[in-house]
Symmetry: C3
Subunit: 337 residues, 3 copies
């Protein structure tokens, strides 16, 4: 959608240095921006690129404005400002309301008149779809689910049962919400399945990545508070609670009944055991494995960075001989007494 720099300045609270009537209709990186594009400078360390960009205008911090040769929109947080403008310039697709003839909707389901139910979607008993929400092709919304207003289930998403999504949720393809948690009692005759009777409660403004799985509670619900962001292939076990605005990068796995605070950040491939509590504002580094409560904000880690395999193998051998090394040091200490 084309929009003038003047209008952007007004709408997003920026100071504009440049011609307010210039119109942009795309966003791009500093390097690839063309003369109809808006771009942004996220860090002063890339100031040098301001010289060569062909963009119509750049969103910058006050202190970087003087280095630009183009029009500038001045904002305290250029990246967030860019994100908001990009969503205006390239709005998500709008779908006509209605239920496609190939979709199958249970008689007891409630679909808002303004919702769009795409081809081959299936909506089960007692479920409801809110205003302006989009249930994409191949999605299955099971029984007793509530999808709030302005949600987007992109395609082939499965909500199994008793799943509640707040407003403005985005659920990417292949995500499975509300499947049975992994509950089994060991007996001499093998495992006995623990019925998984709860649901999943998801707050507002949550985004859930492709092929991510969020299990229903065993008793009670699994809970994601407002603003949570999960990347692809994340696993949230039964009865986990995730605090508002916590984000998890790809392939994070959270064990059952673990409670996670607000604004935490889990880097890729990190994990936790079950039944622990993690405070607000904890950061778990990539591939980190949390095995007990975290009570202080800050960064936590347990993964080695890779090195040449030959060097690594020598290190592994050294670590395996640490007992022996420690014993030898002890002996030297005894001798030197």
């Amino acid at each position: 959608m084309p929009i003038s720099l003047g209008e952007l300045a007004t709408q997003f609270g920026c100071e504009l240095i440049g011609d307010p009537d210039v119109v942009i209709d795309d966003v791009a990186s500093l390097r690839n921006a063309g003369p109809d594009s808006l771009t942004f400078l996220s860090s002063s360390s890339f100031r040098g690129r301001l010289n060569s960009t062909r963009a119509a205008a750049v969103i910058v911090r006050q202190e970087d404005a003087e280095y630009a040769r183009t029009a500038v929109l001045i904002h305290d947080d250029p990246y967030a400002c860019y994100a908001r403008i990009a969503a205006v310039v390239h709005p998500p697709p709008v779908y006509e309301s209605g239920i496609h003839s190939s979709a199958v909707v249970a008689a007891t389901a409630t679909i808002s008149d303004s919702a769009h139910i795409a081809p081959n979607a299936v909506i089960g008993d007692r479920s409801s779809i809110g205003d302006n929400s989009y249930v994409g092709p191949g999605c299955v919304v099971g029984t007793d689910c509530t999808v709030g207003d302005d949600c987007r289930l992109i395609a082939n998403v499965t909500l199994v049962k008793k799943v509640t999504l707040g407003v403005r949720a985005i659920v990417h393809p292949g995500a499975v919400i509300g499947a049975d948690g992994f509950g089994n009692a060991r007996t001499d005759e093998g495992w006995v399945k623990i019925p998984q009777l709860g649901g999943v409660q998801i707050g507002d403004d949550v985004e859930i990545g492709a092929n991510t799985t969020i299990d229903c509670g065993a008793l009670g619900d699994t809970v994601l508070e407002d603003g949570v962001r999960l990347d692809n292939l994340v696993m949230i076990a039964h009865n986990v609670r995730i605090g508002a605005h916590t984000a998890m990068v790809a392939m994070v796995a959270i064990g059952g009944s673990t409670i996670i605070g607000k604004r935490c950040l889990f880097a890729g491939m990190a994990g936790t055991v079950g039944h622990i509590t993690i405070c607000d504002d904890a950061v778990i580094n990539g591939q980190g494995m949390v095995t007990k409560d975290i009570t202080e904000p800050g960064a936590y880690a347990s993964s080695f960075p890779s090195v040449k395999a030959r060097e690594w193998n020598r290190m592994v051998a050294r670590v395996r001989r640490l007992d022996s090394l420690a014993r030898r040091v002890k002996e030297l200490e005894n001798r030197s007494k």
Copy 2:
């Protein structure tokens, strides 16, 4: 389903202390149970909670019975007993038999009269669906597959080809069984795909988690024996064999042709290389990486628990200087001779 304590005692072999005519119609945790609920005490260490529960009755071990203020059902294994009773109180949904008009069933497929084929499911050539089995919405059963009796494919499950499921299998959404294994021969012109010609043989009473993948054999079959439990996002490569009653928690990956014994337990994010053998009753701790045969039962591990990142980084630096430390100790030893 409401049921009396007397009936439960008879049906599940418990001693009842309390009024046999009291009826429960829900199960719950000790903390959340209401006056119509049954709950259970899994461990004597939570005895204190028996004081405050509002449950109608609690399943307890003999030695905990005297601490209860409610009716009690006495059983040697309260958790397993609870699991079995919960399945009676909250039975899985029952579906009318029949094939939904939107499902597409190949002419050469065989569907039991008592099976339920849900909306938009697809059943391919020469596949069969057993008595009372449920093929949920969006499921694709490919060619030459056999789904036994009393199975439940919840939704959006894919069986690709030559997959056999025993009786009472539960397959959660997004699981993919029988896709091609990762077989490639390296040549100067790039990879040459090795045709994946086998199938997948799955025993009775197996449960497979959401978005888990089990590849077909390259030649011969991938095999899961009776009672195996796989959590979500687990990966079983081609020609793996998993022994009866082995359980794998989320994000476990098993390399091709690896043979795993009975009653093993893989905690979350554990993995194995291919072409190894693991004996019965091995336990692999979370994020553990098995690189060679395991011949003795017991627990195995290779993952560090996370600590503050600053502390961790210092440890990593120390480990990297282990060679130097070992050399210095050697030198001290030489000097002190």
Copy 3:
């Protein structure tokens, strides 16, 4: 498909020792091959098995030929030769061209007359499907996607938007290509979503595993060059570029904007952070975590192999006390000066 040894020798450039009129109609392992089967000897170390195989013929290297008691096809690379022959003996299924009546194809989509669109597949606006390509049951091809000739999307695959597949792509069930990358700007009010505006460009002869996810670019495209092989449950973040013939085993995760060279090999559960560059011919061992640029070919690692948990726990404790050990060695050195 039955084929004579003589024809195989001609077609695949092998020297045949044996009767050219013998016909085989199956492939199998040395151990399981029957009298109508062809098999292969991949490594001279298994020469002993040549004695007992019941196969009609074995593909061998020149130097192993004399040990065989059966007919032999001599080839420099028996495994690759086997792969090519197996694909002839057991060709992938052929589907009649046409669009199944339950599939939903947008009016603006273009489907080749020779393509097969299976039951309950959905093809969106402005997308095209090439000659002889197969879009399996439950697949969703979104908007502005291009599927080249001779591609196979097996079942329940999702291409979201702006995805281009070259010729001969194989995409296994549950794979999601072109979903939004994980882009979020942190603000005091929570995360602001960065619109993900790019697409995914995939070259020729690429194979993508079950439940693997490849995100679209934020700005610009995510790129997989020709001949790339991804196993199941792999995660490729936005704006990654993967060089030709690079292969990644299950549960590998690549962070955003990372550039990977040609012919690299990532073993299972390996990962990289974002925004790094990895040169051609790098090998990342299982569970290795790459945190910075790799500029030299060769093997890299950072994962410990599992040992008995008791032993491991002692090692972890030793590593945690390395600071103290190093201090004690320092003290000994000072004393011994």
